[in-house]
């Protein structure tokens, strides 16, 4: 698809105007008649046995309609994307402070709140498992019966010992990352409704995958999934945290037991302690290279603190390992990871999905290697850069598009990079200027062996417009306009001629989750097939009706002697009771190798980011000045959307590098709102935040697209840390680099 009318154009998002006018209804905005308020009783301890739950006083409070505990869960009392080890309502034990013990529905929010206080739960506190290393000792208290190890994964290629003997320089470093909060702005909120007559339970609640929510709700309620409708779009931000179930099952249960609509909206504090976070990890990296900068061997060991329940802790660990070598050819690798249960809240999917942590460690190591070898950091990366049809550092064939080399060349030629030494002269001590670079390779899709598909159907409406039925959710990323741009390209019609459904399990086929930066790629493929099928269908029907061969062209059907506008054809079909539609179903391609548990992937987006910082060596303050993001996301369906992902990702990643950290003490949150957990404001954002898009056309997508939600918030973190080193010659290996930490390190180095 070289000549395009819609794809690749910066068309305004279809949802933007409504949002600007304040008309958009998020799920937490909905209100229904006779609506009750629901509340969740969370655990009083991070780790405790439950001895007794007494709800009698709470039930007697006037205005209370029901109080539910584990006894009321009709089906499986558990949920979890990979394994359902998280109780819907805790029965014998609580494992983190966000665990749910009971639910209340009452006539007003304040009665519900009061009712929570009247529930009597007797606990027998257990020792809190805080340190993931200690959690693995055989004497450690067990978070789960079967032990504290969730997953151990090992990947290797070649002979890493041999590789290190071939290396002239070997570097070894330990890194650590913090617990990090997504801080989406819309807290978990929504409504459950039970319609007794039809037996349908409807749950309105923002999430990242309505169709999986539907199954998880059905499993917990022992209900026919076909009788569970989930509407979960649009969402006021998610970044991975709403991939897992949040309050959906509570809504369904409360609606079922009260026969009334029940609304729950979590406070910021409750949201903060209960939903998943980004995993804190400890990473030991050993990297060997020859004098001329050829990477020879990489050994990485990761210890990941997954918190109380599995959720996506296993896949996150695996992606951290797969992503660890970055976009480089390395002949000998040994990558070992363990994910461990603790009582430190719980972690799961978060933008970057493990690659965030391993990229941080690898890209700083590479920077140190470049310095040791006296090679320019970008040249070192270019020397080892991965190309299409190479074998990866985990030994699988990269048969999809790879644009990382070009991103590095653009970085190298950029003004920001070229002027880095000259611009240093503009600053006087104690103020220092520095520039850093980092690259990343982000796996897209769910990986080998995990069902990963999208279904789409497109119908011709009776007025001649198109209805695109797809199930993916709008969580802020802007995929809806991209879907329409792609469909418009094939259907040769204006965007205004189309409508689309999103995030409603009763309105469309299952189009997969909005995770792993994958919806543009998968839905794009499926809608291409659907649109092509629809066009054939239109031509067949027109030919039948008219009696001569008709071809579709620009919303008309054209035959040797006649032209019919599409709306006429639509009316004809409608009057005959014919629904003209096309369906498309696309299954994600997979790698030739199979390492189990979703490894490896086969499709990747890439990014190189350059950042300049100004460091005040007296206060330890770091200001990020300029950022250049150079993503390779395949064809950019909507360049403005790609820029938006980059700009937002940069600020989130900057904050990961410098500012944010969830503080826990003995399993309790010391930070649980925006005054204790500070987020960057417009005043903190970089002075310039630019994007240059590289488009390596992806052969397995008809539009050439891949994806771009995660990478911009990944490489930026090590780029900033490398820039700090360039500025003041101080390296920090655990993030965030707070002013106190930086000052202490400056002080320490001064003494040596």
């Amino acid at each position: 698809m070289s000549q395009t009318r819609f794809v690749g154009k910066p068309i305004a998002r279809i949802d933007a105007l409504e949002k600007a006018l304040g008309k958009t209804r998020f799920m937490s905005d909905l209100v229904f008649p006779n609506m009750l308020w629901g509340k969740v009783l969370r655990a009083a301890y991070p780790h405790a046995r439950i001895c007794r739950i007494d709800t009698s006083r709470s039930e007697q409070l006037p205005g209370v309609r029901c109080v539910l505990t584990h006894r009321h869960v009709m089906g499986l009392n558990g949920f979890g994307i990979v394994k359902p080890d998280q109780p819907v309502l805790c029965h014998d034990k609580v494992r983190y402070v966000g665990d749910a013990v009971a639910l209340v529905a009452a006539e007003t929010e304040s009665i519900a709140e009061e009712a929570l206080g009247l529930i009597q739960v007797d606990y027998d506190p257990l020792p809190v498992v805080e340190d993931p290393e200690e959690a693995l000792s055989e004497y450690a208290p067990k978070v789960h019966e079967q032990g504290n190890l969730l997953l151990r994964t090992k990947l290797q290629k070649g002979d890493v010992k041999q590789g290190f003997t071939e290396a002239d320089v070997t570097l070894e470093q330990r890194y650590s990352t913090q617990l990090f909060e997504h801080a989406f702005l819309e807290t978990e909120g929504g409504i459950g409704i039970y319609d007794e007559e039809s037996g349908v339970i409807t749950v309105y609640c923002g999430s990242q995958y309505a169709f999986r929510d539907q199954l998880q709700i059905a499993r917990a309620l022992d209900w026919d999934p076909k009788k569970i409708r989930v509407c979960s779009s649009p969402v006021g931000g998610a970044f991975g945290a709403k991939d897992e179930i949040t309050i959906q099952i509570y809504l369904a249960l409360l609606a079922y037991y009260t026969r009334c609509p029940v609304k729950i909206v979590l406070s910021r504090e409750e949201s903060f302690i209960s939903h998943v976070k980004r995993h804190p990890m400890r990473l030991d990296v050993r990297l060997g290279a020859t004098k001329v900068g050829e990477l020879k061997a990489l050994d990485v060991r990761i210890l990941s603190d997954t918190g109380a329940y599995a959720s996506l802790g296993g896949p996150v660990l695996n992606l951290a390992l797969e992503g660890a070598p970055g976009p480089y050819r390395i002949p000998h690798t040994h990558l070992l990871g363990r994910a461990v249960y603790t009582n430190n809240g719980m972690s799961g999917a978060c933008r970057g999905f493990g690659a965030t942590q391993s990229c941080f460690a690898m890209e700083i190591t590479l920077d140190m290697m470049a310095e040791q070898l006296r090679i320019d950091p970008i040249e070192l990366r270019l020397k080892n850069v991965l190309r299409r049809n190479d074998l990866s550092a985990i030994d699988h064939l990269i048969f999809t598009s790879v644009g990382i080399e070009e991103t590095l060349k653009i970085a190298r030629d950029s003004e920001l990079w070229r002027t880095r030494d000259i611009r240093k002269r503009d600053f006087q001590p104690p103020i220092f200027y520095g520039v850093g670079v980092a690259s990343e390779m982000q796996a897209l899709g769910l990986g080998k062996g995990i069902p990963d598909f999208a279904g789409v159907s497109i119908e011709l409406d009776r007025d001649g417009s198109f209805l695109l039925r797809q199930g993916c959710i709008e969580i802020g990323q802007g995929n809806l306009v991209c879907f329409l741009q792609m469909a418009a390209e094939v259907l040769q019609c204006d965007i205004e001629r189309m409508r689309l459904t999103h995030g409603d399990t009763f309105a469309s086929p299952d189009s997969g989750s909005v995770t792993a930066s994958k919806s543009i790629y998968l839905v794009g493929n499926a809608l291409y097939l659907a649109a092509k099928t629809l066009l054939q269908e239109l031509e067949r029907f027109a030919s039948e009706t008219i009696g001569e061969p008709m071809r579709y062209q620009e919303c008309e059907l054209v035959g040797p002697s006649r032209r019919i506008p599409l709306h006429e054809l639509a009316q004809t079909a409608h009057s005959q009771g014919r629904q003209l539609k096309g369906e498309g179903h696309f299954v994600h391609p997979t790698s030739d190798k199979d390492y189990g548990d979703g490894l490896p992937h086969c499709l990747y987006s890439f990014i190189t980011q350059v950042a300049s910082v100004v460091v005040d060596a007296e206060t330890g303050m770091v200001k990020v000045h300029d950022v250049l993001s150079i993503p390779d996301c395949g064809r950019a369906i909507n360049p403005q959307g790609v820029e938006g992902q980059c700009e937002g990702g940069v600020v989130m990643g900057m904050s990961y590098a410098l500012l944010e950290k969830v503080e826990l003490q003995h399993g309790r949150f010391l930070t649980d709102n925006f005054s204790t957990y500070t987020l960057p404001t417009a005043a903190d954002a970089p002075l310039t935040n630019k994007t240059v898009i590289v488009e390596s056309m992806e052969p397995t997508n008809p539009f050439g697209a891949k994806g771009m939600a995660e990478p911009p918030n990944v490489a930026i973190c090590p780029a900033i840390l490398n820039a700090i080193y360039d500025a003041i010659g101080v390296r920090i290996f655990d993030i965030p680099v707070t002013p106190e930490k930086l000052l202490a390190e400056i002080e320490r180095q001064r003494k040596i």
């Binding site: 305004a12 105007l17 600007a20 304040g22 702005l185 931000g237 969580i475 937002g648 925006f674 417009a682």
Partner: protein, 161 residues
Amino acid sequence: MPDQVTIECIVNGKQVRTSIPSGMLLTELLRDVLGLTGTKVACGKGECGACTVLLDDEPVNACLMLAAQVNGHSIVTIEGLASDNEATALQQAFVEEGAIQCGYCTPGMILAAEALLRRKPEPSEEEIREGISGNLCRCTGYTKIIQAVQKAGVLRMRQKA
């Protein structure tokens, strides 16, 4: 009921007279009583600006105010900014510049920017950053929001001239 109070105020140009519990928050009055759900609540503690509305032209965090406090005052919410559903230049600029992603911060952000432009019709970039620094946005990284406010400022000056 003893703790009910009657208030009279103007919301988006319309006279409102209603009896409410004295402890009711302004966000509750707007969202739950008047159905103006464009005003968002993301922290409930004055930390994020999602609930920003204009009180007699000044931006305030509605989550920190009691509804009773607006008795005799005039409120503009996001729904009341545009007349006849026609987006204002500022709203249009947010749309065109790509300043809206999830959109949850958007109403508060636009009202904070509106207040800024009323106070300072041609703000510098620095002043814009400062002017919206009470409003958190997790999605956009602020770049396009700043551009949108700049663009709207220029447009408004031109319209006036």
